[in-house]
């Protein structure tokens, strides 16, 4: 049973126009900047927002179409909300049992099932705790157990890790990955964090301004971004141009030499670590080299990212040692160099 959705929602000036197909057992991540329409898509699938047009079908049953609308409480869904929305007046166990009770499971049975779920997410000892007394990671796991306890066919995760601090996040992310692997239904993960999407999803759908701009397995998307937004997410220098043999004339000005000859419109990418900086024009092995001006310097954990103006503009990651050696300051004039073999070229 495959979930197929043609999501068309118009709200004021914004239009969501997204076709989405999720196979059983598949985890699809909907990745995009704020305001791209990710939450709108999730709410439409949950039935919290009726479609303007289009339809949602799960196998034989239709959830939303111009003729019919199934309200959220009648859809076989589970939702983990961004800030979890655990019911503050109920214990962790009662929260997890809520969906079962609402769907008609008898009290004792629902509580037993909820207890099993709490055990599965490692919170057997917190059954009687109120949400207020749980840590962020624990609350997230209760929310996941609550969403999964009813055995939904579609699991919707709305920024499930966004509210967690960095250290908790790592652990909760890997736990979430395990639970998603065990889950046989369809999963849609909405996130703006590329790492969450790459780690958890089988397939990425990149949403920008209400439309899907790219989709595919995480490895492909990471290697061959098709928009500036995706390139920025995966951290690559990204250019469009026209290839003629091993030379590519870039749309924004400048040119790059690539290792293998191709012809026609292409994308060229290379990682910031492939860029080396030199005080004078470098000589020697076949490489791309062009003059640049330091626009900004950002300190990251182990590297320094230098934003360089030039034709073309480029990002370079350099070591702290190089930074010290070059004594870089904004406004300094340098030469950027990239080996042709470090570039990756693919057709538009």
């Amino acid at each position: 049973m495959t979930l197929r959705a043609e999501l068309r929602v118009t709200r004021g000036n914004f239009t969501l126009d997204l076709d989405l197909t999720i196979a059983p057992g598949e985890v699809v991540a909907l990745l995009g900047p704020n305001g791209a329409g990710k939450s709108t898509a999730l709410r439409a699938l949950a039935g919290l927002l009726p479609l303007t047009s289009g339809r949602i079908t799960a196998g034989e049953s239709t959830w939303d179409s111009p003729e019919s609308f199934v309200p959220p409480e009648k859809r076989p869904i589970g939702v983990v909300f961004q800030d979890y929305l655990l019911f503050a007046h109920l214990s962790a166990l009662e929260n997890v049992a809520f969906g079962l009770r609402a769907r008609g499971t008898r009290r004792a049975e629902a509580r037993a099932e909820a207890a099993r779920w709490l055990d599965r997410v490692g919170l057997a000892g917190h059954a009687r705790a109120r949400p207020r007394s749980l840590s962020g990671g624990q609350a997230q796991r209760v929310a996941l157990a609550r969403a999964l306890a009813t055995g939904p066919s579609l699991l919707l995760l709305d920024e499930p890790l966004a509210a967690l601090d960095a250290s908790t996040r790592l652990q909760v992310r890997s736990e979430l990955g395990r639970h998603l692997a065990d889950f046989g239904g369809h999963t849609l993960l909405v996130t703006h964090d590329p790492l969450d999407a790459m780690v958890l999803a089988d397939r990425l759908v990149i949403l920008e301004d209400g439309r899907a701009v790219q989709q595919g397995p995480p490895a492909v998307v990471a290697r061959q971004p098709r928009t500036d937004y995706v390139a920025n997410l995966v951290g690559l220098n990204f250019y469009r141009g026209t290839a003629s043999g091993t030379a590519v004339d870039l749309d924004g000005g400048g040119s790059l030499t690539i290792p293998a000859p191709v012809d026609g419109p292409v994308h060229v990418v290379f990682p910031p670590t492939a860029v080396s900086l030199h005080p004078r024009r470098p000589t020697g092995s076949p490489r791309n080299a062009w003059p640049v001006t330091v626009a900004a310097i950002e300190q990251h954990a182990h590297t320094t990212r230098v934003r360089l103006d030039g034709v073309p503009a480029v990002l370079a990651d350099i070591t702290t040692a190089t930074l010290a050696e070059l004594r870089l300051r904004p406004g300094d004039e340098l030469w950027a160099a990239v080996k042709a073999t470090e570039t990756h070229t693919y057709p538009i």
């Binding site: 039935g47 919290l48 009648k74 909300f81 929305l85 019911f87 007046h89 969906g99 609402a102 969403a147």
Partner: protein, 266 residues
């Protein structure tokens, strides 16, 4: 330097009117206590008629509060959550009993629910139900006057409550009614309790609408405020004693409720 010190204190611009306000509320009560003939207090307390009026007051105020809860919570929900057109106007109408002189409210009730009233004449003809001059009439009059307190309080709580919890409940398969009972209502419980307490207090002190609509007959419709008013005609001392009895009982009940329900983090 004074600025630095002032940070830990109550600013005078607030403290001064605050204490004047407190005095304004409490000094008249103190006046009652000072003038009270304490000697006869015990006698009045165990006076059968006073006991009857007090019991009737407590019963009627409590029943009126229950009636307000049953009708007022759904009304508050309607005002806060439904997409009903003209809600702002409706909200203003709901507060009418607050601004209406209670006696006029009582007359209005007579015109509608009285023996010759718009609805009352049918109640009388078809079911033999006549509300004026009955204990049920007292409850109706008190509920009429007190309900706005409940509705306003609950509506405010509902509007402040995050509707996404209701969405979460819906995605878990809960019907609108189940969501209301198990999610919405518990989340606005402090507002419901506060509104209920206000409502009860208002009902307990109700005089004008009660005497106009339900009349005054010992054991049936004579609540404490009515007894106080009539005692004032002949025996002001007795009226003061009755007032103090009413005051003590209501303060006792409210203080008890406050400790149990209203304090603590909400």
């Amino acid at each position: 330097m004074t600025r630095h010190r002032a940070r830990g204190r109550l600013p005078v611009v607030l403290a001064l009117p605050a204490f004047i306000g407190l005095a304004f509320l409490l000094v008249p009560l103190a006046g009652l206590l000072v003038r009270a003939p304490w000697g006869s207090l015990a006698g009045q307390l165990f006076n059968a008629e006073v006991g009857q009026a007090l019991r009737l007051s407590l019963i009627c105020a409590s029943l009126a509060t229950v009636l307000c809860l049953l009708l007022g919570i759904p009304l508050a929900w309607l005002l806060a959550r439904s997409g009903l057109p003209g809600r702002g106007f409706l909200r203003a109408l709901v507060t009418v009993p607050l601004v209406l002189p209670p006696v006029v409210g009582g007359v209005a009730l007579l015109l509608v629910l009285g023996r010759r009233g718009l609805i009352g004449q049918h109640l009388d003809a078809w079911f033999g139900i006549s509300l004026p001059f009955t204990t049920a009439g007292v409850v109706v009059a008190e509920a009429f006057v007190a309900m706005p307190f409940l509705v306003i309080s609950v509506e405010g709580a509902l509007r402040a409550a995050d509707p996404r919890f209701e969405e979460a409940a819906a995605t878990l398969g809960a019907s609108r009614w189940l969501t209301f009972r198990r999610v919405t209502l518990p989340s606005v419980l402090p507002g419901v309790v506060a509104g209920g307490v206000l409502c009860w207090a208002r009902a307990l002190g109700e005089f004008g609408a009660t005497i106009t609509f339900a009349g005054n007959f010992p054991g049936e419709t004579t609540t404490m405020p009515l007894a106080v008013y009539l005692a004032l005609e002949t025996d002001p001392d007795a009226a003061i004693v009755l007032s103090i009895v009413l005051l003590l009982v209501s303060v006792g009940v409210l203080a008890g409720l406050r400790d149990r329900w209203i304090s603590g983090p909400t």
